[in-house]
C-alpha cells in the first residue's frame, strides 16, 4: 500500500477569491522526496466521521526538497474536500499526504513542449515549467481563464515571452488552430483543464496531422458527489453504504475493506475492482476504463465511479 508523509501546513495564501495555495513541510525540516513535473499528491482530510482524500498537482519546484505546495480551488458543488481545505485547515496543522506520483509526465524526447492549462488546470504545468527551465528545454505555456479576478495562476507565472495568458473576459481567447499549426517537428502538446478544452486540443491536433502519441492530457478531478447507494462485498456479504458526499473508495475504506489505490482521480488504474454482479447502471467517472469495458459492467474504479440501481456486488 501507499506510504504516507505527515507534513505540517506552514503557509496558506489566497491566490484568488476561490483558490488558496498551501505549503507543506516536514515538522522536523527533514528533506522530502523530490518529484518530477506534473506529479500529484493525495491529501487525507479527516472531517468529523468522514475521511476524504483528494489529489492535487504539486505546483512547487520538483527539485526543491524543503517543501511541497499545492493550489486548491474551492468547489462548493463538490463532496466537501476542497471546502475542508479552505475552511478547516490552518497553519500549523499536520496533514497526511501520499508520496508524489506522476501520471502526467513530460515526454523528454520532445524537441519542444506546448503546455495548455485551462483554469485550475494550470497547476501541473507550474512544476513542469520549472523542470523544463532547469533542463533548458524549449517550451511555451498558455494559460486560459475566464476573468482576471479568477486567474489564480497569474500570481505564480513569471512574465516572459513564452508565457501566454488568455483571459476570455478581456477578449483574448486562445486560437488553438494558430497555436498548433506552427509548431516544429518533435513538438508535444499537453493539456489540463475542462474536458471541453482537452477535447478541442486533441481535435485540432488530429486535424493538423499530429499523431496521438504527441498529444497528452490530464483531466484530473475530485470524485463527484451523487445520490447515496449501497454495495455488497462478495466474500463476506457485508453491505457498505456510500453517502452522497463520499466516494465509493472512501466508503470501502471506512468499512475496513482494503482496496489498493494511487491517484484517487480515476487516472492510474490502481483501484480497478471486478464487479461480481450488477443490477443497475455504473456511473463511470474515471479516465481509465475503455468504452467497451464500461459497457460490459465487469469493472469499476471505486475512486471516482458511483452506482444507480438495485444491487452492485464487488469481487472483494
Amino acid at each position: 500500500m501507499i506510504s504516507k508523509l505527515n507534513l505540517k501546513v506552514v503557509e496558506i495564501e489566497d491566490l484568488s477569491p476561490l483558490v488558496k495555495r498551501f505549503r507543506f513541510e516536514d515538522p522536523d525540516k527533514a528533506a522530502l522526496p523530490v518529484f518530477s513535473g506534473g506529479a500529484h499528491v493525495s491529501v487525507e482530510m479527516p472531517d468529523g466521521e468522514m475521511l476524504r482524500h483528494n489529489s492535487y498537482s504539486l505546483i512547487s519546484d520538483p527539485y526543491d526538497a524543503t517543501g511541497y505546495e499545492i493550489a486548491v480551488r474551492r468547489e462548493d458543488q463538490g463532496r466537501g474536500g476542497s471546502k475542508f481545505m479552505h475552511e478547516k485547515v490552518a497553519v500549523g496543522d499536520i496533514l497526511k499526504l501520499s508520496m508524489p506520483a506522476n501520471l502526467f509526465q513530460l515526454d523528454l524526447r520532445a524537441k519542444k513542449h506546448v503546455l495548455i492549462g485551462g483554469g485550475i488546470g494550470i497547476t501541473p504545468f507550474l512544476s513542469q515549467m520549472r523542470q523544463l527551465e532547469m533542463h533548458g528545454q524549449a517550451y511555451e505555456l498558455h494559460y486560459a481563464t475566464h476573468s482576471r479576478e479568477e486567474a489564480a495562476g497569474l500570481a505564480l507565472l513569471p512574465e516572459a515571452a513564452h508565457i501566454h495568458v488568455h483571459i476570455s473576459e478581456d477578449g483574448s481567447r486562445m486560437d488553438l488552430g494558430a497555436m498548433l499549426a506552427d509548431q516544429p517537428l518533435g513538438c508535444h502538446v499537453y493539456t489540463c483543464g475542462p474536458e471541453g478544452l482537452i477535447a478541442a486540443v486533441a481535435e485540432q491536433a488530429a486535424m493538423l496531422g499530429w499523431p496521438a502519441t504527441s498529444v497528452h492530457s490530464e483531466a484530473f478531478t475530485a470524485p463527484p458527489p451523487g445520490a447515496p447507494f449501497e454495495v455488497t462485498i462478495a466474500s463476506t456479504g457485508q453491505v457498505v453504504p456510500v453517502a452522497a458526499n463520499q466516494s465509493l473508495l472512501e466508503a470501502l475504506e471506512a468499512a475496513s475493506v482494503v482496496v489498493d489505490y494511487s491517484c484517487r482521480g480515476g487516472g492510474c488504474g490502481r483501484c480497478e475492482t471486478t464487479v461480481t454482479s450488477c443490477d443497475g447502471d455504473i456511473e463511470h467517472n474515471d479516465f481509465w476504463l475503455s468504452k467497451e469495458e464500461r459497457a460490459e459492467k465487469k469493472k469499476i474504479m471505486p475512486c471516482m465511479s458511483r452506482f444507480k440501481g438495485l444491487a452492485l456486488v464487488l469481487d472483494l
Binding site: K111, L180, D182, P184, L185, G186, C187, G209, W210, S214
Partner: protein, 200 residues
Amino acid sequence: MSNTQFTPSITSRPVYPGLTSLGNVPAIMIADASGQEALKELAAADSSVMDQAHVLLVTTSPALADKLQDLRPASIETVSDLDAAVPSFERLLSTAKMGTQLYLAGSEGLIGFFSARALGSGLPQEAIQSEHRGPISRRMQCVHCKGVTEDVTTDPFTCSHCGLTLFVRDHFSRRLGVFQGVCVDAEVPGEVPETEEIQP
C-alpha cells in the same frame, strides 16, 4: 512490381506497409530509381498528395526526375546518393511543422537512412510511411567496429571496415537506421557457415 513482402520476423525488424495518401498535406517524399514507381502509383491514386510535396530523388539518371515532374510536386530535386541528399533533407526538416508526412520508397537502406534522420529531428514515427521496392539489400552496421557496410546481399558478409565475417541479423537500430551484423566465427575463428543470398 509492387511492395516487397518480407517474411515475418522479430519485432525489431522494420515492416513497410506501403504508401497511402493522406491528401493535400505538407509532405516530404524520397525515392530511389525503384521507389519512384511507388510515388507514381501514390499520385495516381490521389493527385492532391503532390500539392505540398517536396520530392528528393536519389538517382544518377536525371531523366527519371523529368518523369516525376509530370506529377506536379511542390518541388523536386535529384541527388546522386544517400549522403548527397542529407543537406537538402535537413533543410526541409528544419522548416517543417508538426503534421508533415514523410513518404519513403525504395531500398531498405534508403528507408532506414532517412527514417533515422527524420526521427532524430523529432518527426514522429507515426508520420513516416514506407514502401519497399527494388533489390533486397541491407545497410549493415558491424557491432564490433561500428562501421556501416552498404548494399549487403549475402549472409554472412565481410565488414567493409574491419574485415570481420558478420552474421546478418534482423535486429535493427531505428536510431542509426541499420541492421546489426555480428561476428559469425568468434568462438572458432575460421569456422564460417556457407554464404547464402539474403532472402526477403
